[in-house]
Symmetry: C2
């Protein structure tokens, strides 16, 4: 045993030296460093995602200094385990570790990162337990491993700590605390090595941008993907879908795509992947007709193959030892499995006009999926397959569309680090409105997209409040396959719901441009307040001492230091503060700078905590000084390829403003070959004090879908 | 990757052959088999406990056939992991996997066995996550590993299953289920090998007995350990303790030992392990005085060493990398650490008269204890230290008393497989009365003891109901250090509480004998109904189909098939069915055979579900036909070494009966050197139909503490 100890210790010293020397870090892109500890797996998150970094975007962000003292970063390998340690300073706060639903501040938490359904507690089991965190000090850390990672996010105190906590007598000392100060994030990865990546700032948002760009940049959805979607009853026939589509049109509600649930399949759970000839006798004709009306079809699937599927015998050699609902589980790391499995998708779905998928049950529950003792023919462990299954199905299904030069935008239950660029939005069957907003905030630290879908509601008020947040999210989804709820199901708020839906469609140019920035610049379109320049000031863990002080001396400093998990940024300019059922008033923490009401343009405050009392018809939204928000006409379907649209540019506040408006064909991947444009919108003050708006000329040979451009100066009267 | 696959597969085949051949199993004791899969750790649960098997007891149980088809038991080692598979048949139910609080039937559950505080869900994190299970088919399985073990207790379905579930169409088939049938228990141990033990029946109770005997047999507490104990306020001085002791005596409440909380220490959390000279100026005199009154002292401790402790510098070289509350964490696997740490206990505590300990915080929480990335000088992993810390402190503290030839009986927050023989009862800070009873039931499958302590109550009714279950448990503890509750705190039930406390003392001969059976024969003194002969019949998982059938045709079969987690067996003869606050009536499931009321002796039923409506003053207790229950006089303190006591033997039912009464000096380990006796009590029917009771003569040179013996035939009138 003692020999064992010496061996461990020796190994420890050797590796820490090897690792903590800064020259051990390789700068793999501007502001991005990588180090290899021990001998990592061949198969990891980045190899599963298999997406090249967006070096162009990273070069634009430019060079930056190594953001930590590398001597304080320790990696050790002991008995087939890798242990990492990264430093924390007293006032530092950290964010991330994936799609958490209840917490934004992660310092002091213990997590086991494990792909699973969300089980109502932020313990690391979630749909996207991304091993990436970003610090209020302006750097990010990513651990590229497909293992279950134990994270001690500032909990353990060490004897060798340069800044250890003090021992106190609990009997009589009131300052005693059950959880003394810790100066490090520590992690345990159950394998003999890992790759660790470090992303520079200077700001936390820069670190997030670098992570997102290094993992491929955000997806650019087709324009129709940002319109409305409705999911219909699981056993609907083609005729019933046509009727529902007609009713949306008759009632003047926007609709861009319809989701079909398991009933489209001849057998499901496990699945044949072929159409049910009774409910859908002519899928191709059905989808052709709908597309003429500007409506696309999204199909529910899960990847478990029924013995009655035409591909069963061909996929069998490439499946795991364990079945799910008596269906076989494809090993998607094997090319032959990919060809067999996705082949039937191409023939039966894409060729007939399917525009996207909702990929279910690739996350958990443990009681349903293969156990960790399962084995797969590739030899990759069940644990690694579990951690990457969501990445693999996103990547491989997205590639089908890329081959057709046609963009898709769908839904998935699981993702992980490296999945930033996939055109999928995460959903689940948890349904807490407040926690959905916290998840939307956390999605911005994790390189994933999340939708606070509206599913059903107990009251008209709840329905309207949920629809209001759906409108300010990555996917405007009504997921009513079980409840049968329609936008107009609550007559007393039908008008208000329609108004919100119309606003979503009017804001299309803004949403589309903000997604383009996610793709080209790595800026999450939806993100937490801590990533806002004027907000980060004074963040860091709230200690009992300073909170009490601050409550009297500086309520704002205390507010930003506290976990703010019910308001978020939507795109460059908008601060969204949702209302929840039963609320008539709420507090909003405004970052530094002057802020304006989205609807009226009136000044509301700057760097302070305000209380708002909006009507039931309004979701509080606030706009930065000098903002330009590009809107278009109200319409029921997103503009199609080459379709022209009018622009109304709204200017807010007292500063001049400038906005680069993105445009392309909205449907293909030609933008990757340069077929896109950035048009400069600018508002300047005239000698007479009035505002003047200008739009730059279209670039030669670039897409130009703008017809008329009009200007609206929302804060004009205050300015004069 | 493919090579990797072939390698894995080859290894798999080789090992499964190696393991599944029955000659791979070594019979290490009668009815106990062991197999070694791969290369296990040197340090495991049994080496941590370091207790020899009670071969004498195992020989008495005798030989038995290998209980499973060894060809169906598969052990595999892949990439530094061990995977186990054991077969299940359709109707089989399994019990165990440690101290669960909400469930008794474990088939269909997924657990990660991890020593921790109980977090309100049966997920494997508990104070004693013992990797042992027993089957309704009459065998037991123990995995001797100190790693976190993932258990799939009949959840995964395999392609190669001889009896796989059938694929169904969820769209239209109502018989579709989210959790199809599984024919195996599978486990994953994160190391390259383990020892697996198999325990024969024929009955489930025999398998439990064999496990308990193989791990050393149950502890035999000193007689005083089975009396009452009160824990006093954490900052009480010696004078305040004397006053509390006096009040127990004045009010006529039994009391055998008093627990001192952290205030006895000069500093705590972390601890100096020396007395606070202010509150306890003369510990030795204090304890000597109390012992004269028949009262002993138990000390709260946790093992984390304060920089201000006299042993700090000596223990430092043998402590882990991480601190707990800024105290250092001894590596108890190192002999030098044991000498330093327990040395101060001998000098400061035992030498001055301390009779036992309450060892706190050796279980969890993760936020408090060392993280799994910590390292210890022995080279044993933090995970293994976590899994065995409770075993190590129990073993090493118990050995201090063995050295003095003085028995102890204390409290501990953590145990594990192998800890059966340690004289400690598990406690925690969870406080659900119903779940406490379920935990008491599960303790009987896990080789541990648990107390449903009374701590505080919202009402007189709750207080009385909790005191009633305390009386029928391994330790009659009032843990009122925080609440200050006394037995008489609710005047309206003071008389009823006293009556129950007195009953506990009267039953001392029965309790003491039943613990002797735990020690010599391995029979848990408190255990679940599924271990009762007449009950096991018809057990097994309740399927929707047969439950519906049974509800109409056979409510009893359905009742025993259902999870029964609110009634239990106390010793050989007694069935205890506790009442919970708010209840005036309840159902009780009686095993086959005739049963009688404990208080009146009246017949109540046989092999059926009865409904009882006891008064507030009674806890429903039922007695087997032919039972003999030995009682003694009411007294406030348990009989001391060599103290004589009177016996009243109660006979129940219509059958003759026989009972072996255990006796020894009640305080030392001389019984291990033969200084004990089994006196035969028997009741036979006379020609005239009346009962006759006889007691065998004392054996020469054996302890004999009986003075008068009287007989009471509880069911006599019905019998005549």
């Amino acid at each position: 045993m003692y020999q064992n100890a010496f061996f461990t210790l020796a190994l420890f010293l050797f590796l820490s030296l090897a690792v903590s020397a800064q020259h051990g870090w390789e700068e793999v892109a501007p502001g991005v460093w990588k180090i290899v500890v021990g001998t990592p797996d061949d198969f990891d998150l980045l190899s599963a995602a298999a997406v090249p970094p967006r070096l162009e975007g990273l070069r634009k962000l430019g060079a930056a200094p190594f953001p930590l003292d590398s001597a304080q970063i320790v990696g050790e390998v002991t008995e087939n385990q890798t242990q990492l340690r990264l430093p924390l300073v007293r006032e530092e706060q950290i964010f991330g570790f994936g799609l958490n639903f209840k917490t934004v501040h992660q310092r002091g938490r213990i997590l086991r990162l494990h792909v699973d359904h969300y089980g109502n507690s932020d313990n690391g089991r979630t749909h996207a337990p991304v091993p990436f965190y970003v610090s209020s000090e302006g750097y990010g850390v990513f651990v590229n491993s497909a293992r279950y990672i134990d994270v001690y996010a500032g909990t353990g105190s060490r004897q060798d700590s340069p800044d250890p906590p003090e021992a106190r007598d609990r009997n009589t000392d009131n300052a005693w605390t059950a959880r003394p100060y810790s100066d490090a994030v520590e992690m345990r990865i159950p394998v003999g090595g890992v790759e660790v990546y470090l992303f520079a700032g200077p700001t936390p948002l820069d670190a997030v941008r670098r992570y997102n760009l290094y993992t491929g940049g955000g997806p650019l959805p087709p324009r129709w993907g940002l319109g409305f979607t409705q999911r219909v009853h699981r056993l609907f026939s083609d005729e019933q879908v046509r009727q529902e589509v007609q009713e949306f049109e008759d009632r003047g509600f926007p609709l861009d795509f319809v989701g079909l649930e398991p009933g489209w399949l001849s057998k499901s759970y496990p699945n044949t992947f072929v159409w049910d000839s009774g409910r859908f006798p002519d899928p191709e004709g059905f989808m052709t007709d709908l597309k003429k009306k500007g409506i696309r079809i999204n199909l529910w699937v899960n990847p478990f193959v029924s013995p009655e599927s035409p591909i069963y015998n061909d996929i069998l050699p490439y499946t795991g030892t364990h079945t799910v609902w008596a269906g076989v589980v494809p090993d998607f790391t094997i090319p032959a499995a990919q060809q067999v499995f996705w082949g039937i998708f191409e023939r039966e779905h894409l060729a007939k006009g399917v525009s996207g998928y909702k990929i279910d049950e690739v996350d958990g529950y443990d009681e349903w999926l293969w156990p960790d003792v399962a084995r797969f023919p590739s030899g990759i462990s069940a644990e690694q397959i579990r951690q990457t299954y969501g990445l693999l199905v996103q990547k491989q299904s997205a590639d089908l569309y890329r081959k057709k030069n046609e963009r898709t935008y769908g839904l998935v239950r699981a993702s992980n680090g490296g999945g930033t660029s996939f055109p999928y939005v995460i959903y689940n069957d948890y349904y807490n409105h407040r926690d959905f907003i916290t998840a939307l905030i956390n999605s911005g630290y994790a390189g994933v997209l999340w939708t606070p879908e509206a599913r059903a509601s107990k009251s008209a008020e709840e329905w309207l409040r949920r629809m209001q947040t759906v409108v300010f999210s990555p996917m405007a989804m009504i997921n009513a396959w079980a409840s049968g709820t329609k936008p107009w199901s609550f007559p007393e708020v039908e008008a208000e719901v329609r108004q919100m839906a119309v606003l979503r469609m009017q804001m299309m140019p803004y949403w589309y441009t903000e997604f383009a920035k996610y793709h080209h610049e790595g800026t999450p379109p939806f993100r937490g307040m801590s990533l806002e320049e004027g907000f980060a000031v004074g963040s860091g863990p709230l200690t009992i001492a300073d909170s009490e002080a601050d409550l009297e001396t500086n309520p704002y400093a205390e507010a930003v230091r506290k976990e703010v998990k019910d308001q978020y940024m939507a795109g460059e300019y908008l601060l969204v503060a949702p209302m929840f059922e039963g609320e008539t008033t709420r507090q909003v923490v405004l970052p530094a700078g002057r802020w304006y009401d989205f609807y009226s343009g009136e000044f509301v405050g700057e760097g302070e905590v305000i209380t708002v009392t909006p009507g039931l018809d309004k979701i509080p939204v606030f706009v930065k000084d000098g903002a330009l928000i590009p809107l278009t006409d109200a319409r029921l379907h997103a503009p199609g390829n080459g379709e022209k649209y009018n622009l109304e540019v709204r200017h807010y506040g007292e500063k001049p403003g400038e906005y680069l408006l993105y445009d392309d064909d909205g449907e293909t991947f030609d933008y990757e070959r340069g077929a896109y444009s950035w048009r400069r919108l600018s508002v300047t003050r005239q000698k007479n004090g009035s505002w003047k708006g200008e739009v730059s000329n279209p670039e030669k040979g670039k897409p130009n879908n703008l017809s008329t451009v009009s200007w609206r100066f929302m804060t004009a009267r205050q300015a004069l």
